[in-house]
């Protein structure tokens, strides 16, 4: 008997009791669907993280200085850091100090409560690959002369100055600053996101910040290949000043991305393994129904044997029937997984501000289908063996 004929026979048998077949498949459907959704969610999360990190620049190193306490004067100066870049052009391309400013921002009489205010250097904008929508970014002369100027994000410009912020003024802690430039939109121009920012010359920011210290620096690495070399270079320099690794931390964006990606991978793996348990349970369900089916069809097996079916023929018939049931469950599970992924993407988009696309991967689809078909073969084998071994006389006599 040809395999295609056996397959047609299996389909015919499955379709002749649809409700039972569907219930048999349910475990597989849920298992496959769950694996696909979980892997899809993990992919979506990784893509989202990668995108947001890339928009920040993966060739950036962030240096956080904790310092040896406020009393200690042992610290690196801004000039030291610029000198480091100047001395090592093969590793470092640029640097910008970052000074966080906490203060009240006012446009006219309105208070901007969620705006981030930082003091930065003249290269900061290029390093972060942002563009200028209008006007200019902070320049060295602004820093050198302590000019009270600032650059604002697109949100502030659109929301408070109808898109024409250049030349206007705003107040930080009561001091008036002239807006000299507006940044390109980088996020979605909403309150509190990366477009709700104000950049000042770092020298000015140092004066109005609480401590007056530069607490972090952002370095641009010359190329992606030398990120770890550049990191070592900066660490060596800082170690020579502080004499301990406890007072500073150098982090690279690509390292953070790698760490977070591998964490997401682990979570996805663990969740998939849990979902895969349902595949095993589904397999047992198939085995159960196949055993029932062998009992019910004892007479049929006897008739087929009397007509010349060999053990192999009967074995193949039942294994293929189990595998087909399981594979059909797998296909339905894939469909189910895709539908839920699509719905989940929309729900995430509408319920949260994150734009995470639940993207099932082809790999996971193939894997899930492969696993479900093999589960059918695996769990169908025992009942099929039982059927194949039936004695034809007993089977024919069975009512």
């Amino acid at each position: 008997m040809k395999l295609t004929e056996t397959f047609q026979l299996a389909l015919k048998n499955i379709l002749s009791s649809k409700v039972r077949a569907l219930l048999t498949m349910l475990g597989i459907i849920i298992g496959v669907g769950a694996v696909i959704i979980i892997v899809g969610l993990g992919n979506g999360l990784k893509n989202y993280m990668t995108e947001s990190f890339e928009s920040m620049g993966t060739n950036l190193l962030t240096v956080n200085l904790m310092g040896r306490g406020n009393s200690s004067s042992r610290t690196v100066s801004i000039d030291d850091m610029y000198q480091l870049v100047y001395d090592n052009p093969e590793y470092l391309a640029a640097v910008s100090p970052t000074v966080s400013v906490s203060g009240t921002v006012k446009v006219g009489t309105e208070t901007l409560s969620s705006t981030t205010v930082s003091g930065v250097g003249e290269d900061y904008d290029d390093m972060n690959r942002n563009g200028i929508a209008s006007g200019r970014f902070i320049q060295f002369i602004d820093i050198d002369k302590y000019k009270k100027v600032c650059v604002v994000g697109s949100y502030i410009s659109n929301e408070y100055f109808s898109g024409n912020a250049v030349g206007e003024t705003l107040k930080i802690n009561g001091t008036k600053y002239t807006i000299v430039g507006v940044l390109d939109e980088v996020a979605s121009s909403e309150e509190g996101d990366s477009d709700d920012v104000i950049y000042l010359p770092y020298s000015v920011a140092q004066k109005i910040s609480y401590t007056g210290r530069v607490s972090s620096y952002t370095f641009e690495v010359a190329s992606d290949d030398v990120v770890s070399d550049a990191k070592t270079l900066i660490e060596d320099k800082l170690y020579s000043v502080y004499g301990s690794e406890n007072y500073y931390r150098v982090t690279s964006m690509s390292e953070i991305l790698d760490t977070m990606t591998s964490m997401v991978n682990i979570v996805v793996l663990v969740l998939s393994a849990i979902a895969a348990i349902s595949l095993v349970v589904g397999g047992i369900g198939i085995m159960n129904i196949m055993l029932v089916s062998v009992s019910e069809r004892t007479k049929e097996i006897g008739i087929r044997k009397s007509l010349g079916a060999k053990q192999r023929n009967i074995l193949t018939q039942f294994v293929i029937e189990a595998a087909t049931t399981s594979a059909m469950g797998g296909l339905l599970g894939i469909a189910f997984g895709f539908i839920v992924s699509e719905v989940a993407t929309r729900v995430i988009a509408s319920m949260t501000e994150y734009d995470i696309t639940v993207a099932p991967s082809i790999d996971s689809v193939l894997l899930a289908f492969g696993i479900s078909a093999s589960i059918g073969v695996l769990f169908g084998y025992l009942p099929a063996k039982k059927a194949a071994k039936l004695n034809p006389i007993d089977a024919l006599r069975y009512e």
């Binding site: 002749s16 007479k299 049929e300 007509l307």
Partner: protein, 252 residues
Amino acid sequence: MEQTPMEQTPLIEFKDIHKIYTIGDTELHVVDGVSFKIYKGEFVAIVGQSGSGKSTCMNIIGCLDKPSTGAYYLSGEDVSDMNDDALAEVRNKMIGFVFQQYNLLPKLTVKENVEVSMQYAGVSKKERTERSLKVLERVGLSTKLKSHPNQLSGGQQQRVSIARALAGDPSVILADEPTGALDSKTGIRVLELLQELHREGNTIVLITHDNAIAKKAERMIRLEDGKVVFDDAAEHYVHEERDDEGEEEDDE
């Protein structure tokens, strides 16, 4: 039928066949030293009451069961020691079964039922169709190809099962109480069909408990308590006036 049988290889040859079942400590000799030869083209009835061993003989002839001792030659080949799969192949190529309960597969159509044994034999789809159409026409059911067994009457179902037996072009048609589930009128028509098939050259072995039916055959082998008590032309059998009405119905 005029050839001298002695010069041919018998189609079926039983040589001192025993079938022994052990129940507890007692050995039950269901078939107790049966020997006979059946030649190509014969129409033989194996007849006996319940417990006479005729069903076991039928199972052995049909290669569904193996003798405990003794040898069974089918077309000159010893099949008494073959394994399950080899026996399956012998059944497929040489035996056409007609059962009392028809034993059609309920989910398949008439045509598909007739083609099952040819599927296992690996006959191509085209040839299967040709042969199934031919045998179904032979039994007068060419209009019922697409019907399912439950849409047919008992007589029609039995004719489908005869067509199925014929389809594989077997050496012998083995009919086990073929009229047992039919009313007498339909039963007679089925027997007539078997007689016609015999006249067309088919070898037929009919297993029955009913002497009247056995008499439709050419030759009768009568079994009692696992032994052959009569083996001759059916018309020579002198009916011992026993009360057949009180005879126990024997399904197997």
